[in-house]
């Protein structure tokens, strides 16, 4: 998409103040303008995605360092490394930062922002200024919370359970909550923008069933942003009012019900799990066909499964409260509904596997991450069914079994999908290729490090080690040391991409428009894409995932 054929268009799109002669290629979004102002006041969805990418990477580092300190503390059973208070503050920072400032915005705000307009053939999101505003709202809230949590030593855990958070914690709970509430609005703005964009800005011919699954999963995610986030906003505002004015909603001392907070909290926070998981599924659904060179198996089922997950997730929040004083009948209903989540999840996993069957596989870095993702997501998902089983939950609730389970979903799932997607679209984002062998090495390190860190925690949980324990019985020490050792491998695996990806920005090989020979409109434009995405009217493909090997075709041999 370079060369003189499109210069006329590009001229019209470019700020006339920029001298063209200094540009060695078409005005791609990275080089269109160079000032700080052009980044911080940009309304280009691609630049905003990069702003988000830089921000969430910084938050990831903070969350990872605190996780490392938590694992360091747990090497010894008697809590000699930190005081109990310091330990509690560390896991609170880890949870708050990772959940709210990394996992929730991770894929939607970066890849979603960058790719949705490209994938549907639009010039930008429906509301570009709102998109920029959402980043400022996010940064304001996140920075405010981070400062409060660090300076004010918030020690409630990321769950802020009452009445510990309302009446007993002498820390900066209110400022931390205000920040989290503000961040919620950024999610709502992003979700709103995606829904409107996907409804109204699809290129001619881009019907719903020609959309990449990535767009479907982001549509489903956006619905959750819009429907669930207001509930956590409400819950957190009530919590702030409770703490400040004792209004008596949650605190039993004033006639409130502390379990009510858990209901409101999980009514958001369980769907939030799918805010983190669905976009990852979208990423995997793009990577697997591209590296199997084969049409995605069961496209419509995979698309509907995304909507199915986003729907059923609203009816399972009570499985966090089987042993928290909820009525037994409610627990029974939440248990069976939670089992229903297995249906759309199975659809995804089996269809990816069927896509690989009789494909022509390239085991490049993104595909390695995708395969790792499938394995870890399956393990995380099935242990979720264990937890949904009432009698098992009665034993392993609030133990390390739960910690292991959700890290298999959050890290094994979301983080691996994030890294897979980052490597897949890195050439598109930056116009540069990274060194493939480094990518493969770090993918292996992360997979191994992750399993050594978190698999022992399943056993610790079944043995009965409660979560959030700084001091623990000596018989659990061996498995804790193993877990901490694994986390150092994981850390090395995380540091590698930060180094070689950043290195590639300046020294990497220039990327062609479509280095993977992948399908999808984002690969039809230059890498990095022009400032306004499409220089000519994009034409929607008639079949999504139109790869050389068709699931329905007969007698097609790979050369």
């Amino acid at each position: 998409m370079s060369g003189s054929a499109t210069t006329g268009d590009a001229h019209a799109l470019r700020d006339p103040g920029i001298p063209h002669a200094t540009l060695d290629r078409e005005a791609d979004y990275l080089h269109a303008e160079h000032t700080l102002r052009s980044w911080f006041f940009t309304t280009d969805h691609k630049r905003i995605a990069i702003l988000y990418l830089a921000s969430i990477t910084a938050f990831f580092v903070i969350g990872a360092v605190t996780a490392g300190l938590v694992r360091l503390a747990l090497v010894v059973p008697d809590g000699q490394v930190f005081t109990n208070d310091t330990y509690n503050k560390l896991f609170t920072i880890h949870g708050v930062v990772m959940v709210w400032f990394f996992l929730i915005p991770s894929i939607p705000a970066t890849f979603g922002n960058f790719l949705i307009p490209l994938m549907i053939g639009a010039r930008d999101l429906a509301f570009p200024k709102l998109n920029l505003a959402s980043w400022y709202v996010f940064m304001t809230g996140a920075f405010f919370t981070l400062v409060s949590v660090v300076l004010g030593g918030v020690d409630t855990g990321w769950t802020f359970y009452t009445p510990l958070s309302t009446a007993f914690s002498n820390t900066w709970v209110v400022p931390a909550l205000i920040g989290v509430t503000v961040v919620g609005f950024s999610s709502i703005l992003t979700g709103l923008n995606f829904v409107v964009t996907i409804h109204t800005m699809r290129a001619p011919g881009m019907t719903w069933f020609r959309l990449p699954i990535f767009v479907w999963t982001h549509y489903a995610t956006s619905l959750i942003f819009l429907l669930a986030t207001p509930v956590i906003t409400l819950a957190l505002v009530l919590l702030i009012l409770e703490r400040a004015f004792h209004i008596g909603v949650f605190d039993p001392a004033y006639g409130g019900d502390p379990v009510l907070f858990q209901h409101l909290f999980w009514f958001y926070s369980h769907p939030a799990v799918y805010i983190m998981v669905l976009p990852g599924m979208g990423v995997i659904s793009e990577i697997v066909p591209a590296f199997a060179r084969k049409k995605l198996f069961g496209y419509k089922f995979v698309a509907y499964a995304a909507i199915g997950l986003a729907s059923v997730t609203f009816f399972v929040w009570g499985h966090h409260m089987f042993v928290n004083g909820q009525s037994d009948l409610a627990s029974l209903a939440f248990s069976v509904l939670s089992f229903a989540v297995a249906v759309p999840s199975a659809v995804k996993v089996y269809n990816w596997t069927a896509t690989i069957h009789k494909g022509s596989l390239r085991l490049d870095t993104p595909m390695l991450y995708a395969m790792g993702y499938i394995g870890l997501f399956v393990l995380g998902g099935l242990t979720g069914l264990y937890l949904a089983t009432l009698a098992i939950n009665q034993h392993v609730h609030a133990t390390y079994f739960v910690v292991a389970h959700f890290h298999y979903i959050m890290v094994g799932g979301t983080v691996l999908a994030f890294l897979g997607g980052l490597h897949f679209w890195w050439p598109k984002f930056t116009g540069r290729m990274y060194v493939e062998s480094w990518g493969r090495i770090s993918a292996f390190l992360i997979f191994i490090g992750f399993n050594v860190t978190f698999f022992p925690q399943f056993i610790l949980g079944y043995l009965g080690m409660p979560r959030r324990y700084h001091v623990y019985p000596p018989e659990f020490q061996f498995l804790n040391i193993l877990s901490s050792a694994g986390s150092t491998i994981l850390a090395v695996g995380y540091i590698f991409p930060m180094v070689y990806l950043v290195y590639s920005i300046w020294f990497g090989k220039r990327a062609p428009a479509n280095p993977w020979d992948a399908r999808g409109l984002e690969w039809t434009v230059a890498s990095p894409p022009p400032a306004h995405n499409f220089l000519t009217e994009p034409k929607a493909p008639e079949i999504p995932y139109d790869y050389p090997i068709q699931a329905s075709e007969t007698q097609r041999h790979h050369s």
Partner: protein, 322 residues
């Protein structure tokens, strides 16, 4: 702790029929999980080798129609897992229906200690002694935040809420000393809010009750647990970072005050100093840092604590910390 000191443990002991059945439930579920996942993992690994780019292979359509195959992999795993939903629910409801002859133990949780009261009136702190073979019904409430009482050996836990009473019941079938935890995060010393579940024979339990009943008069033993639970030792123990006055042998001794008076450390003095340390400042000019316990410590605990301080002497200093 009489619990095994082995550094590596891979499966927890079980001391009730419910616990054993929970183990069977999770083991059977694991077998199903393996049946559902191992083929997928093997298939992915096999496809990655068999259908790697450049390898000659039959890549013709397998002829599988997508509708029947989609329906089958949606429904078959789901229906199979529902067996475990039903099994787990049955076991859960059994563990929610106590028999009429269950012995009722009252439990109170508070930051960061447990108190149990036996039907015959004896109470204990951070330990629960129970007879084997007898259905026990624990009725729990919290005095502050939400806690949860967790006995891994019974595969059972239940939230302890500040605004109502929750229950759990079990019938232990194996004697021994096992671990007990608070499993709902409850603030600073959450991980120190643990204790022991001592399952005894009926005869041992009867003897223990008598012994515990005799100790109730002195209260000093229980006071030691109160001393631990409120973290008094963090400052008052020898070697603590904060150099607070030692309490060993304090009772009955003369104490010099900042205003020049000298008073005897009697029971009234101890009580007043605990509730409001700023009264009767000590001579010596050290900064007064102890927080007031007025409205924090319950009266019965204060009685025990004072009894402990009264009983403590040079001997108590040598005692191991728990």
């Amino acid at each position: 702790m009489t619990t095994s000191d082995l550094a590596l443990q891979l499966w927890p002991p079980a001391a009730s029929a419910t616990a054993v059945e929970t183990d069977w439930l999770i083991l059977a579920f694991t077998v199903l999980t393996l049946l559902l996942t191992v083929p997928v993992f093997l298939a992915i690994a096999w496809f990655a080798i068999r259908y790697r780019e450049g390898v000659r292979a039959d890549r013709s359509s397998s002829g599988l129609r997508s509708m029947p195959i989609e329906i089958s992999w949606m429904l078959i795993p789901f229906l199979l897992t529902l067996i475990f939903f039903a099994w787990g629910a049955r076991l859960f409801f059994i563990s929610k229906s106590p028999p009429a002859d269950a012995m009722v133990v009252e439990a109170i949780g508070r930051q960061w200690m447990w108190k149990f009261q036996h039907p015959t009136g004896q109470s204990e702190i951070n330990d629960l002694h129970i007879p084997v073979g007898q259905a026990i019904r624990v009725r729990m409430t919290s005095q502050d935040v939400i806690h949860a009482l967790y006995f891994p050996v019974l595969r059972m836990q239940m939230a302890v809420l500040p605004d109502r009473t929750t229950e759990m019941w079990f019938k232990a079938d194996r004697t021994g000393t096992y671990r007990m935890y608070c499993s709902e995060y409850c603030g600073t010393d959450h991980s120190r809010m643990d204790g022991r579940l001592v399952i005894m024979t009926q005869a041992e339990y009867a003897a223990w009750l008598q012994d515990a009943g005799a100790q109730q008069g002195g209260q000093a033993g229980a006071g030691r647990a109160v001393y631990e639970a409120y973290g008094c030792g963090n400052c008052h123990d020898p070697g603590a970072r904060v150099r607070a006055p030692s309490l060993a042998g304090l009772y009955g001794r003369p104490v010099a005050l900042a205003d020049g008076r000298t008073i005897t450390a009697d029971e009234t003095y101890l009580r007043r100093k605990i509730l409001n340390p700023n009264r009767d400042k000590l001579a010596g000019g050290d900064r007064q840092v102890m927080p007031a316990f007025q409205g924090v410590i319950a009266n019965d605990d204060l009685d025990r604590l004072v009894a402990y301080i009264k009983a403590t002497g040079p001997r108590a200093q040598q005692e191991d910390r728990r």
